[in-house]
Structure formats: C-alpha cells, structure tokens
Amino acid sequence: MDKNLKICIKIDDNVIYEFAGDIDKPTMINAANEIEALLLEKSLEKDKVKNVFELFIETAQNIRNYSYQTIETANGSNGTFCNFSLAYCTLSDTYVLESCNLIKERQQKVIEQKIDAIKGLDCKALRKLVRQKSRSAEDRHDKGAGLGYIMMARKSSAPMEVAFSPYKKGILMYKQKLFI
C-alpha cells in the first residue's frame, strides 16, 4: 500500500494512538492492550475504555476478515496491511477510531448490506438483533456470527461513517470511522 494512504486524524490536535503496518493476531492484541493502558492512565470511565477496547478488536478482526490479501508477517503469522488511529475530541468527549484497509470489490456489497441492516436502529433494537442473530445460523461461519457491525453500532455514540474508493482493479480502499 502506498504511503499516501495513511490517515492522519487531527481532532483537537490530540491523536492518541496511530498504527500503520501489517496487523496480525499478536500485533492486534498488543495494540489493543496498549490502547487500553493509555486510556486507563487517563482514568476514564470504565465503560468508555471497554467500548474503545472492544471496538478496536472488532475493527481489527474485520480488517483481517475482509482483507483482500493475507501475508506472512515477521512474527510468522497471518497479517494484512492497514492503518488505524484513535483520536479524542474534547468538545464532545468522543473517541474517534478510524481505519483504512484494502478489500476485494465484492466485499463492498457485503459490508453495505450489514450496515444498511442496522441503520437507524436504537440500542434496544440492536440488542434484540444480536439476540436474534445469535440464535440463528444465519451469517454463521467459523470466525463468528456476523455480529461485528451490530456491536460497533451498539457501542458507538454516533452512526459510523464508511467510504469505499477505487484502489486498483478489483480492489477498493475501505475507510471506517467510529465514534465512541
């Protein structure tokens, strides 16, 4: 991926965490723990820290699941290239988790369908949907139940923003912004 794909978030000039590189399982866990430690240092309310931690994991796992290619990282495990950053907006007391990665073109429809299905649902409806999906075999695969986007919406304080743009033939750049 070109260097110009790197996202730079400047909200109140307060970017807390940035990552650009190959993300594999150990890297993901390490980054999640670092983010959690950073937020706990600031003595934030537990639910908020937990939500940021959780949504980072869901985002990273989605990046890995939807990625257009998997490569072997220096750790010897499977990884994929991505950028993500976490910023804090003091005015709204909101964390912004932004990510960018490459996906196969056909994944756009899959992602859009998942997001459309939860658009406009309030927290109560999202909880109900989790329960419905959890008890059905729909969307079930070995990696999960297809609940990631529902969880993202449930733990977010504002609707997520996503964007797809062409990168090269058959490959799209996928950007996602979560507000926590």
Partner: protein, 110 residues
C-alpha cells in the same frame, strides 16, 4: 473445569478470531458431560466471569446456554459476574437471562 466440585468456569477475555472452531472442543465436551451427568450427583455450578468478549463469543455464549437448556438438567446453578461500575456488563446479563428465563441465571456484581 473442576469435575470434583462440579464447577465450570469461563474467565477472562475472549476474543478468538475463529470463535466457533476455538470453542468447539468445549461445546462438544459440555454436551458429553451433560449427557452422562448423574442426576443424583452434586449440583453443577457454571460461572461466566468474562472481562471482555468479542461479538463472535457472544454467539458462543448463546450456544453454551442452549446446550445447558437442552440438557434438561435441573441441578445447574449459573452465575453471571459483572463489574458493578459497568453498565455494559449488566446489559449482557439481561440479554442472556431474558433469553433463557428457565435457566434462572443469577447476576453477581463485583
């Protein structure tokens, strides 16, 4: 799992990427354990002490509770531990207890 005291405990953080594959040995074991459970033996305690779990684990917990429910064993006590400083933890408890009222899952704040 401590078979001697009939204690089954899930504890810590659960975010496996391949959740169903990861938990399959556990769910298969549970099915066998309940199948051969002697109704005259001691009550079983099942503790859920998750600090965090990902969306895929959410469905696994439903699957585990389904297995418990389908076993038809009455001598099972289920406890859901949650951080009292966290609203999310209690919401998770509500979701599971509402969905499985017959299991009488008890909330334990810590």
């Amino acid at each position: 799992m401590d078979q001697e005291i009939a204690l089954i405990e899930f504890e810590g953080r659960s975010y496996p990427e391949n959740a169903f594959a990861f938990y399959r040995p556990i769910t298969e074991w549970l099915k066998k354990y309940f199948k051969f459970y002697d109704k005259n033996s001691q009550r079983i305690t099942i503790n859920f002490k998750f600090l965090y779990f990902n969306s895929a684990t959410t469905q696994i917990i439903f699957e585990i509770l389904d297995i418990i429910e389908e076993s038809g064993i009455e001598g099972i006590d289920i406890y859901w531990f949650y951080d009292k400083a966290s609203q999310n933890g209690f919401e998770d408890y509500e979701d599971y207890s509402d969905e499985f009222p017959e299991l009488n899952i008890q909330a334990v704040a810590y």
